[in-house]
């Protein structure tokens, strides 16, 4: 096998970033449309996208709130999902370290996508270019698409007929599946999902999902056994 090129050409980078922006744009539009169709004020998805800028967490928060859950449960679910941004921050720390404002701005555009694009490059200046190109365009694209979704959601009255309510769990599932690669996490996710669904009829909205974290016990207990590894 021949050596991979150390750098990605500028045109390839722009093409790949555009495709990601388009894909996320459809997701963002869906988020905006469902939010207002579900009865949230127009500014909720718009402000949340500008300030939080994390698709998974925004979907989580919105679905808890739309299901009637308390804001505290919603924020807890979103915050838990965003804990993964901390290891991302350590990963790209070298890329944004030139001065204080690149650190502050770079932190806000640290997402699954921008980190993945940076990690693709072996050369540091190329990684820097990939990170800022992807993060910057994605920030713009995501926020524009959420606004477009809000406008569409306001215009379309019967979102159920278009099956828009299925896009929410579909996005969450598509985000979840690549993260559950090993057997132990699969068991934990399956157990957690079963617990959450079983408790939904009896617990206040938002809490079943948090109790699902009990499924994590399945990932921890084998490690307690001596020499336990996976």
């Amino acid at each position: 096998m021949s050596a991979l090129p150390a750098t990605t050409p500028r045109s390839t980078l722009l093409r790949d970033v555009s495709l990601i922006c388009l894909a996320d744009g459809i997701v963002g539009a869906s988020l905006g449309a469902i939010s207002v169709a579900g009865g949230l004020p127009w500014w909720v998805p718009v402000v949340m996208s500008l300030l939080v800028f994390a698709g998974g967490a925004q979907f989580a928060v919105t679905s808890v709130v739309l299901a009637g859950g308390s804001p505290v449960a919603a924020v807890a679910a979103g915050a838990l999902l965003n804990t993964r941004l901390a290891p991302y921050g350590f990963t790209v720390a070298g890329i944004t370290s030139q001065n204080w404002w690149t650190r502050l701005a770079g932190a806000q555009i640290t997402t699954d996508e921008s980190v993945a694009f940076a990690l693709r490059e072996t050369d540091e200046s190329q990684a820097r270019r990939a990170f800022w190109t992807c993060g910057g365009l994605l920030y713009a694209g995501w926020n524009v698409s959420v606004v477009l979704g809000v406008l569409a959601g306001t215009a379309i009255k019967n979102t159920a007929a278009f099956g828009l309510d299925a896009t929410f769990p579909a996005v969450l599932l598509a985000l979840a599946l690549p993260t559950i690669t090993d057997r132990r996490t699969r068991v934990a996710s399956g157990a957690g999902a079963a617990i959450a669904v079983a408790l939904t009829p009896v617990l206040p909205a938002g809490l079943p999902v948090l109790t699902a974290l009990a499924g994590l016990v399945a990932t921890i207990s084998p490690r307690r056994r001596k020499g336990g590894e996976d």
Partner: protein, 102 residues
């Protein structure tokens, strides 16, 4: 959804993002912490997906929605592009409802 909740989540998220650039060189995340975060993310997303797909309020959501989500899951496992997954889920559910399946 009060503005305060959005600002709180934004603050927490930003703190997670900024921790790395601020603490670089002084603190390292352990491998087990990394693993636990990854596992918690999977569990949370899966349980959100399951409850959103199957339930509405405190009851069953009907068959059309979980059917659309199941199609999305199949496409995701087969590594279909994101827009295809999202549109297929909506189309399946919409079609079933058009056929009278709620």
């Amino acid at each position: 959804m009060p503005l305060l909740a959005i600002v709180a989540l934004a603050g927490i998220s930003y703190a997670f993002r900024l921790a790395g650039p601020l603490l670089r060189g002084r603190v390292r995340l352990t491998k087990s912490a990394d693993g636990l975060i990854a596992a918690a993310t999977g569990v949370l997303l899966m349980s959100l997906a399951a409850t959103q797909a199957l339930t509405q309020g405190h009851g069953f959501a009907g068959w059309a929605r979980p059917a659309g989500v199941a199609v999305a899951g199949l496409l995701a496992v087969r590594k279909a592009p994101f827009p295809v997954i999202v549109i297929a889920a909506a189309a399946t559910t919409a079609l079933l409802r058009l056929l009278g399946v709620s």
